[in-house]
């Protein structure tokens, strides 16, 4: 077994694009779930909307990429308004059911052969990110710190990605510190009390849904841009729950919670993945017990188990504060 390789991969997974994507979408979920108490189980729908919005506008209408990004965000905003309008006046679980259903509606629709002309069907779309590559100012070669080495394209993706993460964190930090953010937290604690104070709870919840959804879309747009393709099979409902694990692991309602959570999540996932595969290759785990194809399923099982254990034993995660946690309420 090559332990250096395993640790190498695990550490670099903590800063690779996957960690960035889940950090940003978990920051969005943090606005929904951590600060406002909204149960959005369809964050993956926002990722998909953003990604497809950007890709389709670039391919169909020849938008420059930056305009495609803006269009993707705009689509996510409309999506949030559409989902929020019927559900935000109702009990919390209705939003949960509707968002998870809407994510599936979107995924099934873009997969449908009837829309293949526009969405590419189950093959998805590619060829929309030429601007992205030509923007890369880094000359070819290897970049990295210490033993972590990345190609020029990867380094460019990682740099832009972490800039986006930091900007998102800053945005959420400033907003949550503002009077607006205090109203959100108050809604999380006691909606009726806020309403009694004359605040328009519905409008605040809607703003929160739009903000978090746009952050989700930003993650989705970044995802498709750095990956150079958008494929419907990447948007299964399980992805939302990964983001939840990142969020709860790091600490709900904490500014850095989702970022730390996502980095640790991907390091752990990559570690188990690499470890299991190498152990199978080296013969420590017999092939009849665990097939290499089953490693992906082990990872999903771990995510489920992780969610259960976290919520039973440490619902506040790593950074969290138990007092500031709507999980315990009701």
């Amino acid at each position: 077994m090559n332990w250096t390789r395993i640790f190498d991969n695990s550490l670099s997974a903590a800063i690779r694009p996957n960690a960035i994507i889940f950090a940003i979408s978990a920051i969005g979920l943090n606005v929904h779930f951590g600060y406002t108490g909204l149960l959005n189980f369809g964050q993956v729908g926002f990722l998909a909307i953003g990604g497809y919005g950007a890709a389709i506008s670039v391919l169909q209408w020849n938008f420059p990429l930056w305009l495609g990004w803006l269009f993707g965000l705009f689509c996510a905003m409309c999506w949030a308004l559409l989902l929020g309008y019927p559900t935000l006046r109702l009990r919390a679980d209705y939003l949960a059911i509707v968002t998870i259903a809407a994510g599936e509606i979107f995924r099934l629709s873009v997969m449908a052969p009837s829309f293949r002309e526009v969405t590419g069907g189950s093959d998805g779309l590619s060829g929309f990110n030429n601007d992205w590559r030509s923007l890369n100012p880094l000359p070819d070669g290897e970049y990295g710190i210490g033993f972590l080495k990345f190609s020029a394209a990867e380094t460019w993706s990682i740099l832009v990605g972490w800039t986006l993460v930091l900007l998102s964190v800053l945005l959420v930090y400033l907003l949550i510190r503002s009077p607006w953010g205090r109203v959100l937290k108050a809604i999380r604690e006691d909606e009726d009390a806020v309403r009694a104070l004359g605040k328009n709870v519905f409008a605040y919840k809607m703003q929160s849904l739009v903000l978090g959804g746009c952050l989700g879309a930003l993650a989705g747009i970044y995802f498709v841009t750095q990956q150079a393709s958008v494929v419907p099979s990447n948007y299964s409902t399980a992805q939302t729950f990964f983001a939840y694990v990142c969020l709860i692991l790091g600490g709900t309602a904490r500014i850095w919670g989702p970022v730390i959570g996502s980095m640790i999540f991907w390091a752990i996932i990559t570690f188990t993945d690499n470890f299991l595969r190498q152990a199978i290759d080296a013969g420590y785990i017999s092939g009849s017990l665990l097939d290499p194809n089953q490693v992906g399923q082990v990872r999903l099982m771990l995510v489920g188990l992780g969610l259960i254990l976290l919520l039973v034993f440490r619902p506040q995660g790593i950074l969290g504060d138990r007092r500031e946690l709507m999980l315990e309420a009701r």
Binding site: D93, M111, R195, S233, N234, P292, N293, L300, I308, M326
Partner: protein, 451 residues
């Protein structure tokens, strides 16, 4: 208390793994079939796989009864980007071909139209040759929808006949959703928990029955009964040793909801781990000759399944209405504290709800597995439809779940009169959203103003 939680988690895991290990034992992990509207793959962003790249595809068409027919012995040639032939393969009797590719890159797959059976053609002529890109470690599924006849696609039967056929199919499916959803609704009503792991109870029943029937060669009916009994025990145990300790600990509803999601995820992929990612049929009653009633053809298993569903649902309604336990269940759903103070043992009622809900879900799963096929995510695919049915009828009411599920089932099937069948699920989920917009309390629910 926490020790108990852990112990029962371990017990549950052991039970599931044990049952599924048997299922996995005789399963060669080679083929996959893709359900027409469903999905088979859960791909993670950039999931690395050292297993090499491969492409597979499924050939099928729908006959005049809308039954899926798999097409064997069709020749497919795979070329790389430079036009060099990689392989020429033919589909097996399940209509599946699979080719391992030398590495990442662009490829094309071309069907030889001469090898298609007579009277069968591509629904979309452009899809004879498909180009696709493979990234490292990717496995790709290509879908080849065929049609009988050269053009037009649909058979010549009249609109009314087709509507009638779809209506019957919709009622069958609606009844199954209803059976699964009643437990979901009652659990919600009595405990407030939106059980996101309910779909896995459906799959559990279907898979346990499959293990008895196919692996251990029991007769199907005996397997089904055993599976339902095991599911009832599992549902009861799940409440007694998992959810009740959590409730007593004072775990919040939202936390329990996320725990249910985690549990669902864990169990679902445990099923896939042992059972594989493909669809399996039961050993018996798979090939049956349809009975004709006017324009409607129905296979006996579906007819009996529908009769059984109606019987069971009427039984559940009578039970809720007439028996002491049934009344207690409704009382707890209505107002838990009041029920408790009037001497009802709430924990016992909730245990009963879990047990019966699991039993109903298992029956629903077995019937669905019988008329379609058993797969590790059949329950999860039903879950969203159950939510649609339950919300449509009114969350927390048993009768509402019944009515709502029937409406969802029929709407899904009838929608294919006007729009392509691939949008069936989309229709059901859209109904869900529209209902919330117009009548959030559902058809039978009581209005409750929030905000």
């Amino acid at each position: 208390m926490t020790n108990k939680v852990v112990a029962l988690g371990a017990l549950l895991v052991a039970l599931v793994l044990g049952a599924a290990a048997a299922a996995g034992a005789q399963e060669p992990p080679t083929t996959t079939t893709t359900a027409p509207g469903g999905t088979t793959e859960t791909t993670l962003a950039g999931q690395p796989s050292p297993t090499g790249e491969s492409v597979r595809g499924t050939m099928f068409y729908n006959d005049e009864n809308d039954e899926k027919v798999l097409v064997a012995d069709v020749e497919v040639r795979i070329d790389d980007a430079a036009g060099n032939e990689i392989a020429t393969v033919t589909t097996d009797e399940e209509g599946v071909f699979q080719v391992a590719l030398p590495g990442p890159g662009s490829y094309t797959a071309t069907i030889d139209p001469d090898t298609l059976p007579d009277g069968i053609s591509m629904r979309d002529k452009d899809r004879l040759t498909l180009s696709f890109d493979m990234s490292t470690g990717q496995t790709r599924n290509l879908l080849y929808p065929l049609q009988s006849g050269e053009g037009g696609g649909r058979s010549s039967s009249s609109f009314f006949d087709r509507a009638l056929r779809l209506l019957v199919e919709g009622i069958r499916f609606g009844l199954i959703i209803a059976m699964c959803a009643i437990g979901l609704s009652l659990i919600y009503g009595t405990t407030g928990l939106t059980n996101f792991a309910h779909g896995e109870m459906v799959t559990f029943g279907a898979i346990v029955a499959w293990v008895f029937n196919v692996t251990w060669h029991w007769p199907f009916i005996a397997s089904a009964i055993i599976a339902i009994l095991i599911s009832i025990a599992m549902g009861f145990g799940l409440d007694r040793f998992f959810w009740r300790p959590l409730r007593n600990r004072g775990t919040g509803l939202i936390a329990m909801l996320v725990i249910a999601i985690g549990l669902g995820l864990l169990v679902r992929y445990m099923f896939q781990f042992q059972f594989g990612g493909f669809n399996e049929a039961y050993r018996q009653y798979t090939l049956q000759k349809g009975l004709k009633f006017g324009p409607v053809t129905i296979v006996p298993r579906d007819l009996i399944g529908m009769g059984l569903s109606i019987l069971v649902l009427v039984g559940v309604a009578t039970f809720l209405q007439k028996t002491r336990m049934g009344k207690a269940m409704r009382a707890v759903a209505d107002n838990k504290d009041l029920a408790e103070s009037s001497g009802i043992d709430v924990d016992r009622v909730i245990g009963f709800v879990w047990a019966s809900g699991a039993g109903l879900a298992a029956l629903g799963g077995i019937l669905q597995g019988l008329s379609e096929q058993v797969s590790f995510q059949m329950g999860f695919q039903l879950l969203l439809l159950m939510f649609a049915g339950v919300t449509l009828g009114g969350l927390g009411t048993a009768y509402g779940a019944l009515v709502g599920s029937l409406v969802v089932g029929m709407a899904m099937e009838l929608s294919s009169l006007w729009i392509p069948t691939e949008f069936k699920t989309v229709v059901a989920l859209s109904i869900l959203i529209i209902v919330l917009l117009v009548r959030p309390q559902g058809i039978l629910g009581q209005a409750e103003r929030v905000g």
